[in-house]
């Protein structure tokens, strides 16, 4: 089997029989959408794409969009499938030295057909932007999403990806970010769906002095199976990567976090750290933290920490003894567990989205 034919690695999860290829492919066009729940009311920059049609496009000067041209340079069977069948594309560019002081909100909505999407985000040299991408679905449709992010020299990107593609569906999400010299990525992934999912977030630190901070939170319940791989590679000297993963599992769910740090030969004075924290609320759920550090260079610092905890019966009892019903007590403990993650999120809206999801999933 050639490399292109292989499925994503999805270490620790058996995805052989997942129905990634069962895609709903029909022609639909939309020219309007209910903006509420997709974009904040006061947003200055907003793009909404419904089943591949751009229905909202309000942008300040210095940003342009077009059909995407580039995606991942990595290959596997699902990326190939996306390239063949893509029915939704967006390329967004922030001009050289343009500092966007208002966030750019992008919503991708799947209404009637599978979202087979490609996004390309480019920050030209010295640009600065905060981009919030929200993936939403209104039906149980399988999805395949590719994303390529280029952060050129001295540019800074704050990126949030909210995956709330709900439904009994199968999702493949793949993102590759390249961070150039003295550029930085501060990224957070909120995996708050009901889907079976393979999520790959790869970052290549290709420029000297580049930095990436990738934070991911996932809450899996019922029979969900989720496999999340966050990988940061130091491909330049003096580059810093940091991975933080938080997960909560309940019922019969399966959640595996693969954290991969790779420091290539000659990339001295680099740093690559990762931390995974999982909380398992049930005896029948599976929580996996699977850290890898692959180091081919001596003059670096690297480390990983992982913990998988159970909910503490004593804590539940203590809270209940103060009059809280069991479900409220558990919610409070989970909220507390996720507090360090929530505190690292700058946006209040996103912190609230996380709390809402805790309410929904544990309510």
């Amino acid at each position: 089997m050639s490399k292109t034919d292989a499925l994503p690695l999805a270490e620790r999860t058996n995805i052989k029989d997942w129905d990634f290829t069962n895609l709903t492919l029909k022609e639909v066009t939309h020219n309007s959408v209910d903006k509420s729940n997709l974009i904040p009311e006061n947003a200055k920059n907003a793009i909404i794409i419904v089943d591949g049609s751009v229905v909202v496009k309000d942008l300040q000067a210095g940003i342009s969009i077009e059909e995407s041209k580039e995606y991942s340079n990595l290959e596997n069977r699902l990326i190939t499938l996306n390239k063949e069948k893509a029915n939704s594309k967006l390329s967004i560019k922030v001009e050289k030295n343009k500092k966007m002081d208002e966030p750019i909100y992008i919503a991708y909505v799947a209404k009637e057909r599978s979202l087979i999407h490609q996004t390309e985000i480019t920050l030209e040299q010295g640009a600065e932007a905060n981009i919030v991408e929200n993936f939403k679905s209104e039906a149980s449709l399988n999805m395949n999403i590719l994303s390529k992010v280029n952060i050129f020299a001295n540019a800074n990107l704050e990126s949030s990806v909210i995956n709330s593609l709900n439904g009994e569906n199968t999702i493949y999400y793949h993102r590759l970010t390249e961070v150039h010299a003295d550029a930085s990525l501060d990224s957070s992934n909120f995996i708050l769906n009901d889907s079976n999912l393979v999520f790959e977030d790869f970052t290549h630190l290709v420029g000297k002095g580049s930095e990436a901070d990738v934070k991911t939170v996932a809450i899996s319940d019922k029979k969900q199976k989720q496999n999340i791989t966050v990988r940061i590679e130091n491909l330049a000297p003096h580059s810093n990567g940091n991975i933080v993963n938080y997960g909560v599992v309940k019922d019969d769910a399966h959640l595996a976090f693969n954290g991969i740090g790779k420091i290539h030969k000659g990339m001295n004075a680099g740093d690559n750290q990762q931390e995974s924290r999982l909380l398992n609320l049930s005896k029948t759920a599976e929580a996996i933290a699977n850290p890898f550090l692959l180091i081919d260079e001596g003059d670096i610092t690297a480390g990983h920490a992982a913990s998988i905890g159970q909910i503490d019966e004593e804590q539940v009892y203590y809270l209940m003894s103060r009059g809280m019903p069991k479900i409220e007590a558990e919610k409070l403990i989970v909220t507390g567990f996720l507090t360090p993650f929530a505190n690292s999120i700058k946006s209040k809206t996103l912190r609230e989205a996380l709390l809402t999801s805790i309410e929904e999933k544990l309510g």
Binding site: R322, M324, G336, F337
Partner: protein, 260 residues
């Protein structure tokens, strides 16, 4: 409103196949302060945990009622809503949840039960007043619940919860351990401030120190998982002067623990 009453009748309980409570009888009414004294390992904490409904203990006989309602049929939170409160000997730590968020949620649940709603301003005022009354540092409200609290801070925090939740019957399990004399007096004052016909209190301790600040109306001694002696404050004074040996002699036992 009639006086609250907690009744315990021939209560037996075990943990992991080990019988600990071997027939406890006790009645605590509004307006009364009871003290249970006794050496370590005689079942005092077990009694308090069984009343509150700790899931690890199994009740093997007897009854508990609160205002005539069967407590043993209630979930832990329902017991709290029925008016019971336990200041625990070893309170749990809840990382990431601030003391004030927790207290607000607990108070909201309590008020919901009583058919009213929490007013944030009132809550904040009460919280600040109680923190002041207990001479706790203001920032205690913003710290994570019991996390990194010293022994004494945890005890005061238990009393803070009691002041805010206003239970009808409070059980204070060794709330005096880890407290210096100043703190003892503060806690004593706080408990005394709640004294009324609508509040009954059961103080568990193996020192008489705290009982100098909170004068009990009834004093009980627990040994071998039972209340073996009851009296008034003179019983406490005798224990203070002579220890427990004379009680053991009276009972004809040498080992007062539940293994005895």
């Amino acid at each position: 409103m009639s006086k609250p009453v907690l009744k315990i009748n021939d209560l037996k309980a075990k943990i992991e196949e080990k019988q600990i409570l071997k027939g406890v009888n006790l009645e605590v009414k509004g307006g009364e302060i009871h003290a249970i004294m006794g050496p370590n390992g005689t079942g005092k904490s077990t009694l308090s945990q069984v009343i509150m409904g700790h899931p690890k203990y199994e009740v093997t006989g007897g009854e508990i009622s609160m205002n005539g309602e069967d407590v043993l049929e209630m979930e832990v939170d329902e017991r709290a809503k029925a008016g019971l409160f336990l200041a625990m000997q070893y309170p749990s730590e809840i990382p990431g949840v601030t003391n004030s968020d927790f207290l607000r949620m607990a108070k909201r649940e309590k008020l919901k039960e009583q058919g009213s709603r929490l007013k944030l301003m009132d809550f904040q005022k009460d919280l600040n007043a109680s923190i002041k009354e207990l001479k706790m540092p203001e920032e205690m409200a913003d710290r994570y619940l019991n996390e990194g609290f010293s022994g004494g801070e945890k005890k005061r925090n238990e009393i803070l919860q009691m002041l805010l939740l206003k239970p009808e019957i409070a059980i204070l399990d060794e709330v005096d351990s880890g407290l210096d004399v100043d703190a003892l007096k503060i806690v004593g004052d706080a408990v005394n401030s709640m004294r009324s016909d609508n509040f009954g209190c059961l103080i568990i301790t193996h020192y008489q120190r705290i009982l100098e600040y909170i004068k009990p109306d009834f004093v009980h001694v627990m040994m071998q998982g039972k209340i073996v002696k009851s009296g008034d404050i003179s019983l406490m004074q005798k224990i203070d002067a002579e220890g427990y040996d004379w009680i053991k002699a009276e009972l004809g036992i040498t080992d007062e623990t539940i293994d005895g």
